[in-house]
């Protein structure tokens, strides 16, 4: 079956389809407002008419290209082209401001490749075993994971923990707007039908990061010209030596595992994976204070993990037929239309296609690194455009990104309103990252809390009697308490000197 799969993939037409898929995917991923999901939706009907393997290969290329394309706009323009690139903004953005955009991009591309490859191997070799474990996860476990992920706020708050927590709470509050989970009650909609669906993550992201940045450059317009003179760079390879890359091996491995794990769990997604990997890298680092100022460690963690999600998310899809996110749900549609039904029997029934998917993923990953590396010089040239021309055009892209989120003019207004919120936060020195984290995790926390309590008949002990949930909650408490103890010790040591 493996030989059959190899011969199906390595025919020129199929390879060409993967290449086209990857290129279109990268473009969709890089343009704010267009996403990997949208690329899959647009090309799904086209894949129906093709031979099964060719159709699936095209979808694989689109999915992989779409996820990794987000790194381009996030580093160059601070607009996350896809939500899974969100944590790349924290260090990739400052690196680009310093004139190191080429290096940040090079490393991000390389790490996307490594993360993707590791997760594909995991998908090939350990998927059936992993899938069994995740079946044991109920809403109690999901709630515990959400709480654990929320503790990230503590380590991403910068100087003021309390301001960070307040920012996170505002994020959770914003997530409350719209129809409530479980019973669909209308909350905080004030009679406005546009608010029923709640705010879109992309709208808040673009507003708080990109639009706020543009307004601030309006206040600093006198410095805008000197900024435009970039320092010359000479980029060879991926901007990082093999030795330097090896020094980050632990970060790469850990981030891949986090991405893989989050990918396997349905419904969490790449944005949480990149945030978790970023925090793990920060907490495990010898120089956590440098995170957020533009260091490679942050870019590596985020980009490795979000691509590792790809292999992870295909594990429950292929072995159990459970799509963990919208993109894999469309992928599932593509498989079933060709008569391939994912589930425990897929290896026996359509083994050649499963191996075909594995090989197509590896090929797509290789095409991705080649295409992005080849385009790197062109991407970086974007920043040579004077800022007084580039920023207004970026603003137009922001408006487009918001509009395409739901084809709704209301979202366009929101983007400017959230831009003002971002500006207010900057002026009052409130960190804006926790707001995004709170928003992304807010509804997941509430939904699983309520579901778990319904299962247990209102008994809160369900969260501590289930072992996996208990472990996550203990780790959550430790990840808040330990840094505080560490800080106090440092203070005492300093005052005794």
């Amino acid at each position: 079956m493996i030989m059959q799969a190899i011969s199906m993939i390595f025919n020129p037409f199929c390879l060409l389809l993967i290449l086209i898929g990857v290129i279109i995917g990268i473009i969709f991923g890089a343009i704010p407002g267009l996403s990997a999901t949208m690329a899959l939706v647009l090309f799904l009907p086209m894949s129906f008419g093709m031979d099964p393997m060719n159709g699936i290969a095209l979808l694989v290329g689109l999915y992989l290209g779409g996820i990794s394309g987000g790194l381009i706009s996030v580093i160059l323009l601070k607009i996350p082209g896809t939500p899974s690139s969100i944590a790349t903004v924290f260090d990739g953005g400052p690196m680009a401001d310093r004139g190191e955009a080429g290096k940040a991009l090079g490393v991000a591309i390389l790490c996307s490749f490594i993360g993707g490859l590791l997760s594909i191997f995991a998908l090939m070799f350990i998927s059936p075993y992993l899938a069994k474990i995740t079946l044991m996860f109920t809403s109690a476990e999901y709630f515990a994971i959400a709480v654990f992920s929320l503790t990230i706020i503590a380590s991403l708050s910068g100087d003021s923990l309390i301001n960070g927590v307040l920012s996170g709470l505002l994020g959770i509050t914003l997530a409350l707007v719209g129809l409530a989970p479980i019973d669909g009650a209308r909350r905080f909609t004030f009679g406005q039908s546009q608010l029923y669906g709640g705010f879109d993550t992309v709208v808040i992201l673009i507003g708080v990061f990109a639009v706020a940045d543009i307004i601030i450059s309006g206040f600093n317009r006198k410095d805008i010209v000197s900024d435009a003179e970039k320092m010359p760079y000479n980029l060879k390879g991926f901007g990082i030596s093999a030795k330097e890359l090896m020094s980050h091996w632990y970060n790469i491995l850990r981030s891949s595992l986090i991405g893989l794990g989050i990918g396997i769990l349905p419904g969490i997604g790449g944005s949480t994976a990149s945030l978790l990997a970023y925090t793990a890298a920060k907490n495990g680092s010898k120089y956590p204070e440098k995170f957020g100022t533009g260091i490679l460690d942050g870019v590596i963690a985020s980009e490795t993990s979000n691509n590792a999600v790809i292999g992870g998310s295909l594990i429950p899809l292929i072995t159990m037929g459970i799509p963990g996110n919208v993109a894999t749900a469309i992928f599932l549609g593509g498989l079933t239309i060709h008569g391939i039904s994912p589930g425990p029997l897929i290896f026996q029934k359509s083994g050649q296609y499963v191996y075909g998917i594995f090989i197509a993923l590896i090929v797509a990953n290789i095409f991705m690194i080649i295409c992005e590396r080849a385009g790197l010089r062109i991407f970086v040239k974007l920043l040579d455009i004077p800022k007084y021309i580039l920023l207004p055009i970026v603003m137009v892209c922001c408006v487009l990104g918001a509009y395409f989120a739901n084809f709704n003019i209301f979202d366009v207004w929101c983007v400017v309103i959230f831009g003002m919120v971002g500006l207010l936060f900057k002026t009052l020195k409130i960190p804006s990252t926790p707001l995004i984290i709170g928003f992304i995790l807010g509804s997941m926390t509430e939904e699983n809390l309520r579901q778990a309590l319904m299962q247990s008949g209102g008994n809160w002990s369900i969260f501590v009697t289930r072992p996996i949930s208990l472990v996550f909650l203990i780790v959550a408490v430790l990840s808040i308490v330990l840094p505080i103890i560490k800080k106090n010790k440092l203070k005492k040591a300093k005052s005794s000197l």
């Binding site: 927590v165 307040l166 019973d183 009650a185 010209v225 007084y388 137009v396 366009v412 409130i430």
Partner: protein, 154 residues
């Protein structure tokens, strides 16, 4: 504004937010018997917000005099005009249509941000017209994603 005043302002803003969310969630109907209800989580979030901002307020009031003033750098006109342009742009985006609103916004925004000695009106004009035309063609005709046409029908 001094750092102390800034902290007091933050605390008060968040106490108001928490109070507002709490009061609003009193109106949410409880629909299912075995569920804690859709008002439970908002109330919890609101209560935590009020407690934490209350603690912050107490701390900031207790901390003695703090005269470190944070300087407001930069030029206020540039910032406020940018905000004004942005607001007008998104308001006329749908009624006037993508092409015209974007052309006008791009030209004015570039004019505001551009240093006086580099303002080449024809050059800025060409970019302001070409960019929206390119984007419109790409999205509407190539990718097939509609953009607002506005009153003039294009």
């Amino acid at each position: 504004m001094t750092e102390k005043n800034k902290n007091i302002l933050i605390s008060i803003l968040f106490i108001i937010l928490g109070g507002f969310v709490y009061i609003e969630s009193l109106n949410i109907k409880h629909m299912m018997h075995n569920d804690v209800g859709s008002a439970f989580f908002p109330k919890m979030v609101a209560a935590v917000t009020i407690v934490i901002s209350g603690v912050k307020l107490a701390f900031s009031l207790k901390n003695g005099k703090d005269e470190t003033k944070s300087k407001i750098k930069g030029d206020l006109a540039g910032g406020w005009i940018t905000i004004l342009l942005l607001s007008v742009y998104v308001l006329i985006f749908a009624p006037v249509g993508f092409i015209i609103s974007t052309t006008v916004y791009l030209f004015l925004q570039m004019f505001v941000l551009c240093p006086k000695d580099k303002r080449k009106i024809p050059f800025l004009g060409i970019i302001s017209v070409a960019t929206p035309l390119f984007i419109y063609t790409l999205f509407v005709y190539v990718i097939n994603m509609p953009l607002p046409k506005g009153i003039f029908g294009f």
